[in-house]
C-alpha cells in the first residue's frame, strides 16, 4: 500500500479522467511521479482569454492534501493574479495561516476538502474575473482597472500565442 498522498492523487487523477470538467484537462506528467501534474486550461468564454489554451504545472507537496499544491503557468500570462513568472496567486492555494497579501478570508483557503478540480475551476473563474486587489502583477491589475482595452489586447495576443499563431 502506497502513501496516502499518492493514493489520493491517484484517486483524483482517476476521477478527472473519468469525468473531466469542461475546459480543463490535467494529469501527471509521467506515471512514475504523481506529484507533478500538467494542466491545460481553456480560457473562459466571453472573456478576453476566450479561445486560449493555457498550460500550467502543478507540484504537490509530500503531505498533500494537508498542504496545498503549487501552480505555475508555463506559458506567458498577463493577469492581475498571476506573477510574471507564472505562479498563480489565489486564496485556495494558500494554507490557512499564511496570507501573503493579507486580504484573504480563511474560509477561502486551502483545506483537505479541496482538490485539483476545484483549484482549476477557481483558476478558470479567476481568469474570467480578476481580483485586482491581490496585485500579484500590479501592472496588470492597474491596467485591468484603468485601461481595460489595452488589457484585452494583451490578453488576446497571449491567446494567439498559446495557440501557436503569430502575435
Amino acid at each position: 500500500m502506497a502513501g496516502s498522498a499518492l493514493r489520493r492523487l491517484m484517486a483524483e487523477y482517476k476521477q478527472l479522467t473519468m469525468d473531466p470538467p469542461e475546459g480543463i484537462a490535467a494529469g501527471p506528467i509521467s506515471e512514475d511521479n504523481f506529484f507533478e501534474w500538467e494542466a491545460l486550461i481553456a480560457g473562459p468564454e466571453g472573456t478576453c482569454f476566450e479561445g486560449g489554451v493555457f498550460p500550467a504545472r502543478l507540484v504537490f507537496p509530500p503531505d498533500y492534501p494537508l498542504s496545498p499544491p503549487k501552480m505555475k503557468f508555463t506559458c506567458d500570462m498577463f493577469h492581475p493574479n498571476i506573477f510574471s513568472d507564472g505562479r498563480v496567486c489565489i486564496s485556495i492555494l494558500h494554507a490557512p495561516g499564511d496570507d501573503p497579501m493579507g486580504y484573504e478570508l480563511s474560509a477561502e483557503r486551502w483545506s483537505p476538502v479541496q482538490s485539483v478540480e476545484k483549484i482549476l475551476l477557481s483558476v478558470v473563474s479567476m481568469l474570467a474575473e480578476p481580483n485586482d486587489e491581490s496585485g500579484a502583477n500590479v501592472d496588470a491589475a492597474i491596467m485591468w482597472r484603468e485601461r481595460r482595452d489595452e488589457f484585452n489586447r494583451i490578453a488576446q495576443r497571449l491567446v494567439r500565442k498559446t495557440l501557436g499563431l503569430s502575435a
Binding site: 502513501g3 496516502s4 499518492l6 491517484m10 506515471e31 490557512p96 480563511s106
Partner: protein, 632 residues
Amino acid sequence: MQLLISSVCMALTSAVIGNAYYQKQQFYPAVVYITKSNASMAVIYIQFFVIVFMFGKLLRKIFLGTLRAAEFEHLLERFWYALTETCLAFTVFRDDFNPRFVALFTVLLFLKSFHWLAEERVDFMERSPVLGWLFHIRVGSLLTMLGILDYVLLMHAYNSTLVRGPTVQLVFGFEYAILLTVIASTAIKYVLHAAEMRTDTPWENKAVFLLYTELVIGLIKVVLYLLFVVIMAKIYALPMFVFRPMFFTIRNFRKALNDVIMSRRAIRNMNTLYPDATPEELRQSDNICIICREDMVNHSKKLPCGHIFHTTCLRSWFQRQQTCPTCRLNILRTPTVNSTAIPRPADEPANAAAAAPAAGPPGAGANAAIINPTAAATHETAQPHPNGTAMRNPAVPNFADIFAETNNLGNGIPNLAGIPPPPMLSPFMMQPPFAYFTPPIVPPPPMPQDLNAFNEEELLSMEGNLRKHIEERIKMLRNISLMVDSANILMQQYQGIIARLPPPVHVLPPNPTVAAQSVPVATDAATAVGPATTLTSAPVCDKPSTSRASAVEVKSHEGHQNSVTTSNTVVNASEKVTIEDLGAEEDIVPSNDEASLDVDSEDSSELSELRKRRLKFLEERNKSPTTSDKAD
C-alpha cells in the same frame, strides 16, 4: 562535458607522468620529481578528484540507478553548502593542512552525499506508485554499507582521539556520529514504509511512529551538536562551520516536538470529545472520507458539526489546524462549551431549590416555570441569601471563565460555519430560568459581559441560519407578542384597581422596581424585547414587566417595600449587563418553549390563576422563616 573533462584530465595526468618518467628514467626519481613540482601535483590532485567523482558515479549507478531531477537538485544544493562548511573547517585546522587531511574531508563529503541520496530515496518510497525488488535490494545494501562505514570511521576517530589526544579526528568522529543518526532514522523510515507497503490497508499508526522517530533522532542530533560546539570551543575555536547545520537541526527538532505535542492533543481530543461514527451515520453520508477520498469502513470520527472523517486523516489535519476541514468549525471551541454544559442540567434543580424553596407546586408546568424565576428573583433581590449564593456560584462564574479561555484558545481563525451545532443548544436552553435571575451579589453572568468582546464573525457564527433556528426564533417572537398582550390585559386590570383605590403613599418607589423586575421578563423573552425594556426604566406602564410589577406591588402592600426597593438599585445596575449578554446568543430562545407553549393557550382565566399562585407564593414566602427577609 563530464567525459571531456575526465579525458582531458586523463591526458594531462599521463602527460605529467610521462614527462617525469621521460626526464628521470627511473621510478623513484620520477615520483620525487612529480611531488616537487607544484604544477604536476596540481594535475595529480585534479586527477584524484576526477577519480573520486567517477567512483561516486559508479556507486550511484550500482546503488541508486538514475537520479531524479529533484534528487539531483537537492544533492547539488547540499553539496555546495557542505563544501563551504568544509572550507570553513579548514581555517580552524590550518596548522594540520596536508594532503591526508584533504583526503579525509573528501571521503567525508563523499559519504555525506550518499547519505543524502539514501534519505531522498527512502522519502520517495511513500510517493512512488511501484517499487520493484531491485529498489529494496539497493536501498538495503546501501544503508548497510553506509552504516558500517560510518561506524568504522567513527571508531577510528574515537580511538585516534584517545591515543593522540584531540586532533582533527574529533571533527570526523562527530561528523560520522551525526551521519550514523541519519542512517538510523533513514533505516527506521525504510522499515516503516516497507511494512506499510506489504499490507493492503493503510497503516494507521505509521505517522505516529515517524513522528516519534523524528523526535528522538532530532534530540540525539541536537545533543551531539551542542556537545561538539562546547568541546570545539574549549579546545580550538568556536566551530563556525557547524552553525548552519546546527541551526537547522534545532529547528527541525523544535518542529518535531511541536508536531508530537499537537498530535497528542489531537488524539486526546478525538478520543475524549468526538464520538465514533456509527454504521448508520456512515450509511447516511456518502461514506467517503473527504480528506483521503477513500471509503470509511471503520475508525471514523464524527465532529460536533456532523462531518465524518477517518480518525487518522483527522489526526494529521488537526496537527496543523483545529478546524473541521469541511465547514471550518473551530473544534477546540465547541467541545469546551459542550463539556461545561454537562454539569448544568444537574445543577439546575439544586439551584432552583436553593433559590426558591417555597416556590409554587412542583410539576405545575408552565405556570410554575414562570413563577419560579420571578420568585427567585424577587426573593433574592429582597435579601442576599447566603445559601443561594453559595449554591449558585460554582455553576455560573466558571462558564464565563471558560468562555474567555476558549476565546484565547481559538487559534485566530474564526468559526465561519454559521451553524452552531444542535448539541450546543441544549446547555443554553437550560440556562435562562435561573441564570438570568441570579442575585445581584453574584455578578458574573453566564455569558461574556460585553458584545464588543466578539468580533463580527464570532457574532455571525452564533446566529444560526438553519431552518430550525429560524423556526425557533419565529415561535419565540410569537410567544413574546402573546406575553406582551397578556401583560397588557393585566396592566389594564391593575390600573382599574389602582384607580379605584386611594392613591398609595408609595407610588414612586415601585417605579424602579418595575424597571428592575422587567428584566426577568425580557430575559425570559428574547433579545428583541430586551433592550426596549431596559431603556424604559422609569415609566410605570412598561408593558412586558407589568405582571412582575404587580407582584412587587402586591408585595409592597404587605410591607416588604423597603427591602425590595433598596436592593433594586443594585439590580438595575447588574441586570443591564444580563440583557446585553442575552443579545449575544439568541439560542437561548428555545428555553422558553415549555413556558410559552402554555402561554399560547393561556386565556384570561389562566392569567388570573397565575396571579393567584403568585400571590400565594409570596404569602408563603413571607410566612416561611428561612426565606423571609432578614433585612427587615
